[in-house]
C-alpha cells in the first residue's frame, strides 16, 4: 500500500515537472503551478505607458500575443517610424519602457495558455510581425468568411480583435465571449 502511494506521488511529481518544460519567467514555475487562478487566456496589460502609446490607434495588444523575437523587431526606433505604413515613433525613454515591458511579458515568457500556444507556434521560423500571422491565430479564424471581417463595416480587419472579442481588452479571447458585429448568428 505504502509503496503504491509512493509510486503515485513520484509519478505525479514527474507529471507536474513535465508541464513546465521550456518556459521562462513571468512568475516562477511553482508560483504558476500552485496558483489557483486561471491562466487560460493572455496576461492583461498592466502598464499605463503601453496602454496610452499602443492603444491610441488600435487595441493595446497584450505582449503575450507575440514572442520576444517579434517584439524585438517591432519595437525599435526605425521599425516604429514605419509601423505598417504608419508613423508610431516614440521618444527614446518611452520606447525603452514600452520595449522592456513587451520583452518581459512576451508569449514565450508567459504561463498563460494562449501565450504558450503562440510561443510554440512561433518557436521555429521567422518572427511574425503580426499576431494575425501566427499559425495558432490563423487557424482559429480560418472558418470565418470574408464578409464577416473585411466586408464587415464594423470590423474591417482581423487585427481589430476587440471588435469581435468583447473581452479582448482584459486579455480574454475565449470563444464564449465572441460577438461579431452585424452577424449575431455567425455560429450557423
Amino acid at each position: 500500500m505504502m509503496k503504491n502511494r509512493f509510486t503515485a506521488a513520484l509519478l505525479a511529481t514527474a507529471l507536474l515537472m513535465s508541464g513546465g518544460v521550456a518556459i521562462a519567467e513571468e512568475e516562477s514555475f511553482t508560483q504558476w503551478w500552485f496558483s489557483p487562478w486561471r491562466h487560460k487566456e493572455v496576461q492583461p496589460v498592466a502598464n499605463k505607458v503601453w496602454n496610452e502609446e499602443c492603444g491610441s490607434c488600435h487595441l493595446a495588444y497584450q505582449p503575450g500575443l507575440l514572442p520576444t523575437k517579434s517584439w524585438e523587431k517591432l519595437l525599435t526606433e526605425t521599425a516604429l517610424a514605419d509601423h505598417f505604413g504608419d508613423d508610431a515613433s516614440l521618444d527614446a525613454e518611452t520606447l525603452k519602457e514600452v520595449r522592456d515591458y513587451a520583452l518581459a511579458n512576451a508569449a514565450d515568457k508567459s504561463y498563460h495558455k494562449r501565450s504558450r500556444k503562440i510561443a510554440l507556434a512561433t518557436e521555429t521560423g521567422d518572427a511574425p510581425l503580426r499576431i494575425s500571422d501566427v499559425r495558432y491565430i490563423k487557424r482559429k479564424h480560418h472558418e470565418l468568411p470574408e464578409k464577416m471581417i473585411k466586408g464587415n463595416k464594423d470590423v474591417k480587419s482581423l487585427s481589430h480583435c476587440n471588435k469581435c472579442h468583447t473581452k479582448a481588452e482584459g486579455g480574454n479571447y475565449d470563444n464564449d465571449t465572441v460577438s461579431i458585429p452585424n452577424y449575431p448568428d455567425w455560429k450557423d
Binding site: 500500500m1 518544460v21 495558455k113 475565449d174
Partner: protein, 204 residues
C-alpha cells in the same frame, strides 16, 4: 505484485513523457487536416483590406456596447469545465470514503463485500463523470488539438493526460467492482485522479 504493476505503469508514463522533448524536433509526416485548411487568407491582413481604416474615426461606439456583453451560462466548453470539476470532486469524495478490510490472521469472519456502499457508488459515479468529461471535451474542443502541434502543446497534453487519467480511474473502479474479494485498486485510481488534475491545470 501490485507494486510492480504500478511501477510498470509509472515507467510507461515516464517514458512517454520523456519523449516530450525529442518529439518536438521531428515533424511527424502524417497528413493532417489543420495544415490543409491553414491557407493564407488575404482577409486576415488589415493592410490588405483597407489601409485607411485605422486613421478614420469610427462612427459607432463599439466599446460601450461591447462591454455589456455577457457570455452565455451554458456552452459546450463550460459543460466540459463543469464536468471536469465534478469528476475531480467525485474522485476526492471516493477517496475520502474508502475503508480498509481487516487482513490480519485474527480478524475473524469478515462482513460481506459491499459493492453498493457510499465508496463504491461514488467510485462508479466518478468513472461515469470522467467518461462524460472526455466525451464533452472531444465535442466542444475539437478544434483545440492538432497532431502537428506536437506533444509539447498544452492542449495536446491536456487530451493525453485527461484521457489517460480517465482510463486509469475507470480501470481501477471496474477492477474492484467486478471482484468478489477486496482488491488493491487505490494506487491506480489515485494516479488516474492526479493525472486528470494535471491535465486540468495545464489548460486552466
Amino acid at each position: 505484485m501490485k507494486g510492480i504493476e504500478s511501477i510498470c505503469i509509472a515507467a510507461m508514463c515516464m517514458a512517454m513523457l520523456s519523449g516530450t522533448a525529442a518529439a518536438q524536433d521531428q515533424t511527424i509526416d502524417l497528413p493532417n487536416l489543420s495544415s490543409e485548411y491553414v491557407k493564407d487568407k488575404e482577409s486576415f491582413r488589415l493592410a490588405a483590406n483597407d489601409p485607411n481604416i485605422l486613421k478614420e474615426k469610427s462612427e459607432t461606439a463599439p466599446a460601450a456596447t461591447q462591454a455589456e456583453y455577457e457570455s452565455p451560462l451554458f456552452t459546450g466548453s463550460k459543460v466540459h469545465q463543469y464536468l471536469g470539476i465534478a469528476t475531480v470532486a467525485a474522485a476526492a469524495g471516493t477517496f475520502l470514503t474508502h475503508f480498509h478490510p481487516c487482513e490480519a490472521p485474527n480478524c475473524g469472519a469478515q462482513p460481506p463485500r459491499k459493492t453498493n456502499g457510499l465508496h463504491a457508488n461514488m467510485g462508479k459515479a466518478t468513472a461515469l463523470l470522467a467518461l462524460a468529461t472526455v466525451a464533452s471535451g472531444v465535442i466542444s474542443h475539437w478544434d483545440d488539438f492538432h497532431t502537428e502541434d506536437g506533444i509539447s502543446d498544452p492542449d495536446n497534453q491536456h487530451v493525453l493526460l485527461g484521457v489517460t487519467g480517465a482510463v486509469l480511474m475507470a480501470y481501477a473502479i471496474n477492477k474492484s467492482a467486478r471482484s468478489t474479494v477486496p482488491t488493491n485498486h487505490a494506487a491506480v485510481a489515485e494516479l488516474g485522479a492526479l493525472t486528470m488534475v494535471t491535465a486540468i491545470k495545464l489548460t486552466w
